[in-house]
């Protein structure tokens, strides 16, 4: 079973496809769950702590807005942990403020910078034929990663 980073990290369809064919999807939920299930003295009502922007310094410089660094504290370790990645290139739903937008760019940059990381670039389907192409390509990609399969 391979760990597959998905972008957008909140994608319902990608999360389903990866788990449907027997792999583990690494998305926002994975990092969020880890944070909210960890007892801590400084856990604020929201899931990010003041420590997270500091951890994000590993991925983005200090001049970069703390929103980017906070988000990278969530996504950075997941990218490092991933055995493969699937990117949907036209994911307008991940649009957001500068923090989100720059984080998205940095996430994609980091994925492409990791040498030897298999990456599938794909687009959302807009027709039935594209739906078939979408599903087939993901299945083919995941099959190439090996591991268990539900089929």
């Amino acid at each position: 079973m391979a760990k597959v980073f998905i972008f957008p990290a909140t994608s319902l369809i990608l999360s389903d496809m990866v788990e449907r064919w027997g792999h583990e999807a690494l998305g926002a939920a994975t990092g969020i769950r880890e944070r909210i299930q960890t007892a801590s003295l400084d856990s604020p009502p929201l899931q990010m702590t003041p420590e997270d922007p500091k951890k994000g310094l590993k991925y983005a410089a200090v001049e970069v807005p703390c929103g980017v660094r906070g988000r990278m504290a969530l996504y950075g370790p997941l990218i490092e942990e991933a055995d493969a990645a699937i990117i949907i290139n036209d994911a307008d739903l991940s649009f957001g403020c500068m923090g989100c937008a720059r984080t998205n760019e940095l996430v994609m940059f980091m994925i492409r910078q990791r040498k030897g990381l298999p990456v599938l670039d794909i687009k959302y389907p807009e027709t039935d034929d594209e739906g078939f192409a979408f599903v087939s390509q993901i299945k083919e990609f995941l099959a190439g990663l090996g591991g268990e399969s539900d089929d």
Binding site: T10, D128, F132, F134
Partner: protein, 155 residues
């Protein structure tokens, strides 16, 4: 909730969304099936399907069983928060739950994905059109056009 009093609940559990978009099965049918085999898991009914919380092995088993009801029309997503968590539940926040818009957008694509899954199951579809990688200059302003704009501004 004071900062110093944060005590996590349901530690060691996972939560999954189960979406159904089927002409044959309603969320209620799926929910009843889930209750039948729930084995102590926490299940919450929603308009799109259900949310299930519990230890990972039991949740995985339940999801595998639920998928058999309508494999091409059931979609499962991981969730970080528990159902009803005051940080996400719209009962406390008002308006749509954060993340709802993403689900709404992708729910609109279920019909293409379901079609793809059914064709894949039948394995009768013709050749696959490859969905290509986005070109680096796609949607960007061409340099010649930028120079032209600069020259026009200067003139």
């Amino acid at each position: 909730m004071k900062e110093s009093e944060y005590i996590p609940t349901y530690v060691g559990t996972i939560t999954k969304y189960v979406f159904i978009d089927s002409p044959d099965t309603t969320p209620q049918t799926l929910l009843i099936r889930a209750y039948e085999i729930s084995d102590g898991l926490m299940i919450k009914e929603t308009c799109f399907g259900l949310q299930v919380t519990g230890v990972p092995e039991k949740v995985k088993k339940l999801i595998t069983e639920l998928r058999t009801v309508d494999p091409a029309h059931i979609f499962v997503k991981d969730r970080g928060f528990l159902p009803g968590d005051p940080r996400r539940c719209r009962a406390n926040l008002g308006g749509a739950r954060p993340g709802y818009y993403g689900h709404e957008f992708e729910s609109g694509l279920f019909r293409y994905i379901s079609h793809g899954l059914e064709e894949l199951e039948k394995n009768t579809a013709p050749t696959v059109t490859r969905l290509g990688k986005k070109r680096l200059d796609e949607g960007k302003l061409p340099p010649n056009r930028l120079l032209e704009i600069i020259r026009n501004e200067e003139a």
